[in-house]
Symmetry: C2
Subunit: 242 residues, 2 copies
């Protein structure tokens, strides 16, 4: 059976048709044929075994044989909210790396110093699916449409999570990892807010603090926006994995 | 004074000439002129204040006014040894991110399953200098020419450091961070060996163990080679920064 993992958003039906790109990859690139078995995931934590019933290179038909539950769910939930960088590549790399390391929800925020207010979420979702397959995980992170910081603050109010804000002026603050380590009652649900290259304004930081975000440091060096996101994912994974 | 940092490998002389690219950036892009002051670093930990004496756009002449010591040296030393990925971009991103987070020495190794045995070190050095400037650090990491794993094992024998090997079959192993935390006598000098996408062979792992490398895990997910390097840098930085 191919080690390669396929994607279809809905595995509830007994019979499904793969989208064109996935069909092409399966039949043309991997040269699989009718009767062969593959693994497929729905991005919601389900992994299924399927058999190729019609090896059409554009609309390959599969029959779902059995659904296997997600094998190893993470023991924590990480949500990041980030002001996207001007350079799109940096966001794409960040998403790929954060998914490999462990990420559940990613929100894009528009702040005063933001350099970008539009995003191609469809492309980001493709990257997310590919990173998921690559790292053998089965749950697609939520990708939120870009929204103003105000509206994000409203959205997150009902979440039962520990909130942190990382921004450049935080060298004096306690490190994110240290904070997690010194709070035994930390819920395993973490939200980290990351500013743009031009940083949050003092007003935005104040607003975050009023919304129960704790200022934390991500180390002594100056990190680019996307590196701050990766560092957050990595430090949180270090805490919950060790 | 420009916030931008310039680079010249030798600040010992009172008068220096910037290389063509740096000259062009200073005079043509930033439009600095004779008499203006800039900051310049040598990549060895020295930061100097300099004045433009001749604003030639290809060979700008500077006079060094004063040398300031490196302000905030790291409290640990991190050395990574990695089997380069097939895709060069991934190595370049990894280098940029690791430098931002904190990296002192990077060695490239050729293993049985390596996908690349040649590297453009000159280009990597340019990326390193740029990442250094961006993150306001002043010490250029050592970048080692690609070498066979055997010869790397010989090279590192005299180093006084804690040695780790991270490879895919290490899920059962203790996490790198946990290992650092449970060893109070760990020296602040860490070497992490990272394998290729195809992983180390059992023989290579055995050789590493004979060379006093401890097998450690970098978490429960499957990381790409470059992500394993970033995760290592990030976890080590989390430990020494908190």
């Amino acid at each position: 059976m191919s080690e390669f993992l396929f994607f279809h958003p809905n595995l509830e039906f007994k019979s499904i048709t793969l989208p064109e790109e996935e069909s092409k990859h399966l039949i043309k690139v991997l040269r699989k044929a009718k009767g062969e078995q593959i693994r497929i995931m729905d991005g919601q934590g389900n992994l299924a075994l399927a058999i190729i019933r019609n090896d059409h290179p554009k609309k390959c038909e599969l029959e779902i044989i059995s659904i296997e539950a997600q094998v190893s769910a993470r023991n924590y939930r990480l949500r990041l909210a980030i002001a996207p960088t001007k350079n799109n590549d940096r966001m794409e790399w960040m998403l790929e790396k954060c998914i490999e390391i462990g990420l559940d929800e990613l929100y894009f925020i528009e702040t005063k110093n933001s350099e970008r207010s539009r995003l191609n979420l469809e492309r980001l979702e493709k990257i997310a699916i590919s990173a998921l397959k690559q790292s053998k995980q089965f749950k697609l992170p939520i990708l939120g449409e870009i929204q103003k910081l105000d509206s994000f603050f409203k959205l997150q109010q009902t979440w039962n999570c520990e909130r942190f804000i990382a921004w450049v002026e935080t060298e004096k603050n306690e490190g994110l990892l240290k904070h997690l380590q010194s709070n035994l009652n930390s819920p395993a649900d973490i939200l980290v807010l990351i500013g743009p290259e031009g940083d949050f304004t003092p007003d935005e930081v104040q607003l975050a603090i009023e919304n129960h975000f704790k200022p934390v440091s991500l180390g002594r060096t100056i990190l680019r926006t996307e590196t701050a996101a990766i560092q957050s994912a990595s430090w949180v994974s270090a805490f919950y994995n060790s």
